[in-house]
Amino acid sequence: MHLTEGEIRSYQDQQIDLATARRIETHLAACADCRSRAQALSERAQRVQARLNHLQIFPPQPIQPAAAHQRLMARLPEEMEEPTVIKKFVTSLSRPTWAVIALVAVLAISLAFPSVRAIANSFLQLFRVEQVRVISVDMDDLPGRMESSAQLEAFFSQNVQIEEQGEPQEVATLEEASALAGMPLRALAGEPVQYLYQPGGAATFTIDLELLRAVLREMGRSDVQLPDSLDGAVVKVQIPGSVISQVGDCQSSQRAGSADPDQRSLNKLSDCITFFQMPSPSVSAPPELDIAQLGQIYLQVLGMSETEAAQFASKVDWTTTFVIPIPQGSADYKEVQVDGVTGALLQFRRGSGPGYMLIWVKNGVVYVLSGFGNKNAALEAAAALK
């Protein structure tokens, strides 16, 4: 009996179980009729894909989730309760951006940190984040693809083990937060300050090359070559506990959405400042992996061309640098001197005005300071840290 169109299509899309795939493969090998039908189906699917691809468009302007959220809130009844300050902080970050950063960080960490310069006699090489760099990437529909990737989900469920060490908790004083985090903390100027301690965790990735290749295929990046030597490599990421401190009027910055829209522009900028501190995450990986190549793959996955990626990858010390991808158009960034080191300053628009995020690493601690205002506001806030 011949294969049905449905069977052939599911096989071509790799959306069937292994046993069925084997059966179909065996049949195709033996049946010239089905092979030619499969060929025709595959060509037609490619034509349909190519035609639907014409619908891809460039956004004429960056999407403004905050502005859209305000429009939405204006149309919804007032029954929406105000979330807590910390929840608001999390919400106020552009979630797609952070979802992408988190996913890409996982790829980055599993791909980008291992080094060829590893010491031959140590089985595992340990790296720490010592600096950050920011690249602007045109992600187009990458987030959508990642989010909906069944293969990526399979990767996370089968090949990633995550240990969390507890729930986030609000704490009353800097000393208490410092004791929980196990490190001295910098303090925000002003009061009252609210503190949230987020316990650390660890993630262990076992690289399954077939699955990773399937993920890339599903993301439409089958051109990215993964070296065979990656297969089976175990990469462990240790994320230490972190502390988020917040000062200022962090309520009204979000409230603007439900207020009279004409009043919004007249409001002065919120003085809400959020400060994140965490000891550098560390990554351990087998020493024999090729660093420059993996860094390049990471950049290609983010949408860079092969040449661009190779050029950029060669200029980065991947053992100590965490490369943060920022979707094009969502923020401006520049390098600034902060706290005696070089940091990255991101500037973007929030619901009620310009916002900043300043990231730097000093003495083994990652600092992220964010608030409203321009570059000067960012640097002043950093200078006021105690």
Binding site: V48, L55, P60, E82, G144
Partner: protein
């Protein structure tokens, strides 16, 4: 990946603390929902309006099963987009084209290429609006990257039937596309 959220049992959706969930959901999916609608419609403002409509529906009538909200959002957005496309088909083609071209022109490109790809896009949209609604929906969901399982959950059909439905939708697409091609001498 799915995001679950909880609905209060007393009838009012999204009461505290679920407002935070709703906002989180909004910020997680806003961009993708707008982009999907913009692909379907080729009109940025219309895409944003319909994306807002999608979230308003989510607010008022969230799905009973909150396990796969992404699929629910995509389905509602895709439906709204295709409906708007069909409504547009009933309006003047010229009016429609004039509204669309500003958005889609990439000014770095050669005008001849822009004109050609604009025609091509219009052709694809005509085909989608002329297809059986369910087939068009299936095609858009699958080609925007949903797995068979997700498409099946979204459309409420058995995952095993997606391959066959997809093959049928592709046949329909291609037949209508060929009719819509100038060389074929007929427009839909």
């Amino acid at each position: 990946m799915t995001m679950t959220l909880h609905r209060k049992s007393d009838g009012l959706p999204w009461s505290q603390p679920d407002a935070a969930d709703f906002n989180r959901l909004f910020f997680s999916y806003w961009e993708r929902v707008v982009l999907r609608l913009a692909h379907i419609l080729g009109d940025w403002d219309e895409a944003e309006d319909l994306a807002l409509e999608t979230f308003i529906r989510l607010y008022h009538r969230p799905p009973k099963d909150g396990a796969n909200l992404a699929a629910w959002l995509y389905r509602v957005a895709t439906n709204l987009g295709l409906n708007a496309l069909r409504a547009r088909k009933r309006r003047s083609q010229y009016e429609n084209l004039a509204g669309v071209q500003v958005l889609e022109d990439d000014h770095r490109q050669d005008p001849a290429i822009i004109a050609e790809s604009r025609l091509e896009r219009e052709r694809v949209r005509q085909v989608l609006s002329a297809m059986k609604p369910r087939s068009a929906e299936l095609l858009i969901l699958r080609y925007s990257g949903l797995s068979y399982a997700e498409v099946a959950a979204t459309l409420g059909v058995a995952p095993a039937s997606i391959g066959a439905l997809l093959a049928r939708a592709e046949t329909e697409f291609e037949q209508l596309y060929e009719k819509a091609t100038p060389a074929g001498g007929r427009r839909i």
